[in-house]
Amino acid sequence: MKRMLLGIMLLAGIHGGRTDGFAAETGDLIKAIKTVGGKGEGHAAAIKSLKLLQAADASALPEIVKAFDGAGVLAANWLRSAFESVADRAITNKAPFPAKQLEALVKDTTQDARARRLAYEWLLKVDSGLDDRLIPSLLEDPSADFRRDAVARLLSEAETQLAAKKIDEAKATYRTALRGAVHDDQVKQIVAALKKQGETVDLQAHFGFLGQWNLIGPFDNKDKKGFPVVYPPEKEIKPDATYKGQLGDVKWQPLKTDDGYGVIDIGKQLENYKGSLMYAETKVDSPQDQHVQFRLGTANSWKLWVNGKLIFAREEYHRGMRMDQYRLDVDLKQGQNVILLKILQNEQTEDWAQRYQFQLRICDAAGSAALGKN
């Protein structure tokens, strides 16, 4: 009975518009939702709180946006759903909508990038001029989605300038667009347009691909048995060391790539040693301690260590390779950081199963290069 009364009181508080106790109650609901973790952790409390929060009126929306700060990826989706249910009902019922407060939060880059984008997309439903007001200023925003919109506008502007034979203006506009571009399709469009005007783009630098490595191998991976084997480079990185490899003694050797997308092609640059594995090592300097994303592409199995710490390991062969295939959260320390990649080739004979390649870049959460190329 007491529990039922509490529920009725909470609902009354939320439906009854702003009251002194409202903020605290919304805060409690949000707090319960933010405890959601993996494997169903925290669901019991979160489900009850979400039901109440989804029933709130639109005045709760700014607080929901602020709540994304510190929310994990799962909790963010729970909060998102609460926001959408509340916003959808308010707009459908033509109820008061806190547009000014939400717009202020969208402009506030200290707020969570996902939440700002969410608020923006719902504001567009009630304010059709919002994109014209906001997007041009968001070229280098922490949100990849905002950057994409800003870049798209500049590309359109550059095409108009080209059509009017304003070549220098168009080139300048493309260069500006490139500053914000984090999606490969847009970058390709810019690069192609600039190339027509005789200009080149350093793609490795733009995306933050690492193009200079030291490699050692091959070591044995017959029958795919090498994945768990700890070969010497996993224990120590000694530039002058010699080890017994699969085909004889092996030593570290430098290998660089001029490929714009930083693809190190072991099969072409060295040899496609079937049933083998290689280690690739490089170093990057970070001006400060910072949280970054490592984005790896490879069709081979792999393990990645940064400063001796295993970041991730994956045993999958030849299911495709793409830029940014794997996104890994990494904490870099100020100064030198050592990156070690174990890359494994199996013995498949099909044409589509011959890649022995990888590409790795370091960027921020939006996909913008964090350090430049090494």
Binding site: G38, G40, L50, Q54, V73, L74, N77, R80, D185, F312
Partner: protein, 404 residues
């Protein structure tokens, strides 16, 4: 009063079940691809298009129909990381609500696939949407989210760089998902009310795109999990394996069930009949000539129907495995969409968007209509309330006589 309401609910539930009004998951309520609907059109043409709705993203997920709503999922964005769940008014074709989420798992797929590849499922009160990124969301029919799980978030190696395709099924109050890849594989039973895990079992470490099927046994419903290793029948509530068929099976077309017999894409097409003792099921027959390509087989009225790689519809005798007749439909491109059957007619959709309605005869099949939807179709349609719901890469169509 409460008891009165309870009885009314039970009666309504039974009536809906008998008429097969809903189409609640991939291949329908009982995962057979067969509908008892008696009003669905037996030809498709431009005039039978009741409505056409543009979708906010791509997808290979099929539509499902629950009451007066049709649900569809989609994924959008340059990285396919925006997930959409959309409710459509079945009568008008207007969007009732849409909810979006951010993918928490890997979104990379083969070029022909999309993150929104698994078909959603419903228990009649809730909708469960699943994605290649192994994001699993449950909403009520009004669009209020009930819970959200990220299965790749929980098990980070559970992904496939070609994409995942297995659609969930709901049995009683358990959602069953099959998450199988080279790097990590499991099946999981999840409480549909709370989103918490009831059971998790290890599955073969091999990429797999098949979906669970459901078989009714004397001891209740069992869920059939297919993989390259074969087939395992499990209890939905506990995940406990009742029996296994270990002769290997395809990893793309899923098993079909008709009565007490299972038709599995293994050594061509193999018919097996489980027994009550939990022993290895009896193999009734197998025949290479009935091998399905990508679409799952359909078994109805004593006939098996499979689509060959060359675009030939093959009818087989479900008791003997003998080929009864063949009908060439379309040789260019491929079939991915599992056909559906109602009123003695089979509805097949080529990846080019070309549809065929075939009248299923004892000795031959007859093409009654060919209609080009004009865009890629890779998923299976739904049949509900006298209508066929067809999903292409960009649109959702309702096909109905008289546009009810």
């Amino acid at each position: 009063m409460n008891r009165h309401l309870f009885h009314i609910t039970i009666v309504l539930t039974c009536v809906c079940g008998l008429t097969g009004a809903d189409w609640r998951q991939f291949r329908g309520n009982d995962t057979t691809s067969v509908s008892s609907d008696q009003k669905v059109p037996t030809t498709i043409s431009g005039t039978s298009v009741a409505w056409k709705l543009g979708l906010p993203g791509g997808g290979l997920s099929g539509p499902i129909a629950v009451g007066d709503q049709v649900f569809i999922t989609a994924s959008s964005g340059p990285d396919q990381d925006r997930l959409h769940v959309i409710s459509v008014d079945a009568k008008t074709g207007k969007k009732r609500w849409e909810r979006q989420y951010w993918a928490t798992g890997r979104t990379m797929c083969h070029g022909t696939m999309r993150n929104a590849t698994p078909t959603p499922a419903s228990d009649g009160q809730r909708v469960v949407a699943f994605y290649s990124s192994n994001d699993l969301v449950c909403l009520d029919l009004a669009g209020n989210m009930l819970w959200y799980r990220g299965l790749t978030h929980d098990f980070p190696n559970a992904s496939n760089s070609l994409g995942m395709a297995s659609s969930p099924v709901i049995v009683d109050d358990t959602v069953i998902v099959q998450v199988e890849s080279d790097a990590e594989s499991f099946a999981m039973g999840i409480d549909v009310k709370t989103g918490t895990t009831r059971w998790k079992s290890t599955r073969p470490l091999r990429s797999n795109w098949t979906s669970p099927a459901v078989i009714q046994t004397k001891n209740g419903k069992q869920v059939l999990l297919q993989s390259s290793a074969g087939l395992a029948a499990i209890d939905a509530k506990t995940g406990k394996v009742a029996w296994e068929f270990g002769d290997g099976a395809s990893t793309i077309p899923s098993s079909a069930v008709a009565g007490d017999t299972i038709y599995i894409a293994s050594n061509g097409l193999t018919a097996i009949r489980p027994n009550d003792k939990g022993d290895k099921p009896e193999v009734l027959w197998n025949d290479n000539r009935l091998a399905p390509s990508n679409p799952s087989p359909v078994v109805v009225d004593g006939r098996t129907y499979t689509l060959s790689r060359g675009g030939i519809l093959i009818a087989g005798d479900a008791k003997t495995g003998e080929v009864v007749w063949r009908l060439r439909l379309e040789g260019k491109g491929r079939y991915w969409s599992t056909p559906v059957v109602a009123r003695g007619h089979l509805y097949a959709f080529h990846d080019s968007g070309l549809s065929h309605v075939i009248k299923l005869g004892d000795k031959k099949g007859e093409i009654l209509s060919e209609y080009d939807f004009g865009e890629t179709i890779l998923c299976s349609p739904a049949i509900a309330n006298g209508a066929l719901y067809v999903r292409g890469h960009k649109h959702l169509w309702k096909i109905a006589d008289g546009h009810d």
